[in-house]
Symmetry: C2
Subunit: 440 residues, 2 copies
């Protein structure tokens, strides 16, 4: 027996809109289409929206995974014209208006692709196999378990070279993810490692941030880049510019200039690529790994397929001839424009124009940088601004309270107690010599 | 360079106490030995204490895993005479006063075994392989992901028999874990399934609680047993008494009387067994799977090895000739007695006597049962009492706040938003026929 609400949903005769992906772009579309004359179906491989800008805090034991995730079914429950299905989309057949999923084919009248982006290893299979990445909650929990296990394993190493390798953390990519992660790892060293791993010399833990260019946070102002660098150096992070990683075998990372570094942990945050679906080859831009879209977000060569967010490459916006930055605000603005346009006749639609409201990144307590339309700010005010913007952007009231409480707890107590290791016991096999200084 | 605190710890000339296991018993010992003239080393396979009585709430999406766990290193950090090591103990050589771990041998003067208990499948390998259990955080998260994936998978089943099997939850064991889990699953059906899975008929979800005896909560008063049964039946849980599981192949559970039930999910909560270590065969009680201890918690046949908590079988307490119940209060009282006795000369030690402060179990909102020394209570007051006792027993202030907030949120909004699936996509392979009612 179906519920009354489901019977009513099934009876809707509005055009069917399928939205693939519930990230910032997809979720914004769904929320804006709620109550409008469309029959909406959201598809995602996960059952929850993940607030990606705070993933690095899950990875560094500042936030619990649950506090930055929200189930899609909870979001769509009060929307009578929206349904959700957890499934994997394997392709599109635009000629038939059909999306192909693991669970069969689905017909659409309008298709909105908001599949986002994944880590870009630029074709280096070895690095892809051995390095860690930070695009999903599972990956964040994996990084968390990994560095905590590294600390524990380091205690059993009497050989100093092995111990240094075990405590050497290499982060590749000087964008916001790399910078924020490096700052958070430096806080971990200053608090958790120093106070709770008394057998270890916390200065043995090295944090290397690797960038192939000559400044951090390329999308920010030069002032902000310089300030972020200064903050990181104050916190003891080694920043290596002009360094290009060519390989990583799990023990040693090698660079283009022939140099190398021994490390058990490489976190790769050096680029993203759009998650494109097969079947839309005409609109696919292979260099960018994104779908070419026009000023109305329509995928090139299609009549009723749209792409928004990280997966879309729009070169029609005069201010952004190389396409928009792959960030949440651009994704959400594209979603808002698209929903407005879908409610208008074709010729009344307005082309998208991105309003860059600014960029911000946090490095540590009272240490953040903020760029807003030529205006720059750093320090504690930027840091509180960053907190405010991020907390307000979270999806549910519960998550806002949880995140705020966790931050207050962390920054007042410096205890980072969210330190569950839930992976199998000591995955890495580099523990070479058991010894027993503690109790012998 | 070791820290000053570590150098001071190493220099301690007190007797070395090794505590194996940081559950209720082990953690209580460590907390009581802090600042006392002993050099204490806590060993555990996990890096965190887990508050086991609330594991079922992690499994049923009411609490986040982090809110009931606390890192051992955080607990011992302020204790100058206590250290922690994350390692796996593989055996004991009492003749040499040595504990053998994965990372080498450790010498002790006094050994305290607090390894606790694990799920007892009574030798049934098939059930052990196929059923789920609830003794660790990983297992709780696994149950949570599993039932959420079952809901999603059920949507794709057009065949009613398969759908019923997918939504049939069988819990084996009518003790507190089974009863509390069954009640929480009934709440999930009433809230999450009913409100957010509109395509499913929530009455198709069955919750079977299986017990081989003739009443629930055998350790409680008959009044409480009867009340718990009534609560569960009011919530739509089917309780099957006198049923003994003989097998489970992943699809069908079979009973001793030849009957069977089709289900994708069996959660086994029908018994525990002590986690005994090799090397102490003289003190091992094979039927009970526990270590025989005297009235001072000393393992039979040893001079300086103690066992407390679930792994200890003490028959010397006149009120408990078959040993104490394997519950947290008994474990903690044994720990308290042991620490007091260790500070006394051998002949001044006092034998342990368990003070049963009562038992409580919760079934749902405003539904709990409580037995205190012949006095019985149920309903809302017992429920608030249960909340109070459990929140106050949590290890850290942070966890208390988190748990209270999560409960308040859950019981006011009925939303259970802690619903991350973090396991691989649709593990179970029973999705038989893709179809596409939603958007076709």
């Amino acid at each position: 027996m179906k519920s009354q609400a489901k019977i009513e949903y099934d009876r809707l005769t509005y055009p069917t809109v399928i939205v693939i992906g519930g990230g910032f772009a997809g979720l914004e579309v769904v929320q804006r289409l709620a109550g409008k004359p469309f029959k909406v179906l959201l598809l995602d491989r996960q059952n929850h929206h993940c607030f990606q800008p705070l993933l690095y805090q899950v990875a560094t034991a500042s936030l619990s995974a649950d506090s930055i995730a929200h189930p899609f079914r909870r979001t769509v429950a009060p929307m009578p014209n929206v349904a959700f299905r957890m499934t994997n989309v394997v392709g599109v057949r635009p000629a038939d208006n059909v999306v192909v999923t693991d669970h069969g084919e689905l017909h659409y009248d309008i298709l909105i692709i908001a599949t986002g982006s994944t880590t870009n290893f630029f074709g280096n299979k070895q690095v892809e196999d051995q390095a860690m990445q930070l695009k999903s909650i599972s990956q964040a929990l994996d990084i968390r378990s990994d560095f905590l296990q590294d600390f524990e394993a380091a205690l059993y190493l009497s050989d100093e070279a092995h111990q240094r390798r075990q405590l050497n953390f290499v982060i590749v990519g000087g964008g916001p993810t790399g910078v924020e992660l490096a700052g958070a790892m430096a806080e971990i060293r200053m608090t958790v490692l120093k106070n709770e791993y008394l057998e270890l010399d916390s200065s043995q833990m090295m944090i290397h941030l690797i960038d192939s260019g000559d400044r951090l946070l390329k999308a920010f102002s030069e002032k902000s880049s310089a300030k972020a660098l200064r903050y990181l150096e104050e916190m003891g992070v080694k920043v290596n510019f002009g360094a290009r990683v060519t390989g990583y075998d799990g023990d040693r990372v090698t660079f283009l200039d022939g140099s190398h570094m021994d490390t058990n942990t490489v976190i790769w945050a050096a680029g993203v690529r759009g998650v494109c679906l097969p079947g839309l080859e005409q609109g696919f831009h292979p260099q960018a790994n994104r779908f070419n879209v026009d000023a109305f977000s329509k995928v090139q060569g299609t009549a009723n397929v749209y792409a928004i967010g990280d997966v879309a490459l729009m070169t029609a916006d005069p201010a952004w001839p190389k396409g928009h930055p792959q960030v949440a605000p651009a994704a959400m603005q594209q979603a808002q424009y698209l929903v407005k346009n879908l409610q208008r006749a074709e010729k009344e639609r307005t082309p998208f124009g991105y309003v860059d409201k600014g960029s911000m990144a946090t490095i540590g307590r009272y240490k953040a940088v903020l760029d807003v339309r030529g205006f720059h700010m750093g320090g504690a005010i930027a840091w509180f601004g960053w907190i405010f913007v991020h907390v307000m952007s979270l999806v549910s009231f519960r998550n806002r309270v949880m995140v705020l409480f966790n931050w207050a707890w962390k920054y007042m107590s410096w205890k980072n107690t969210i330190r569950l290791i839930i992976r199998p016991y000591l995955r890495k096999t580099t523990v070479v010599e058991p010894h027993s200084t503690v109790a012998s």
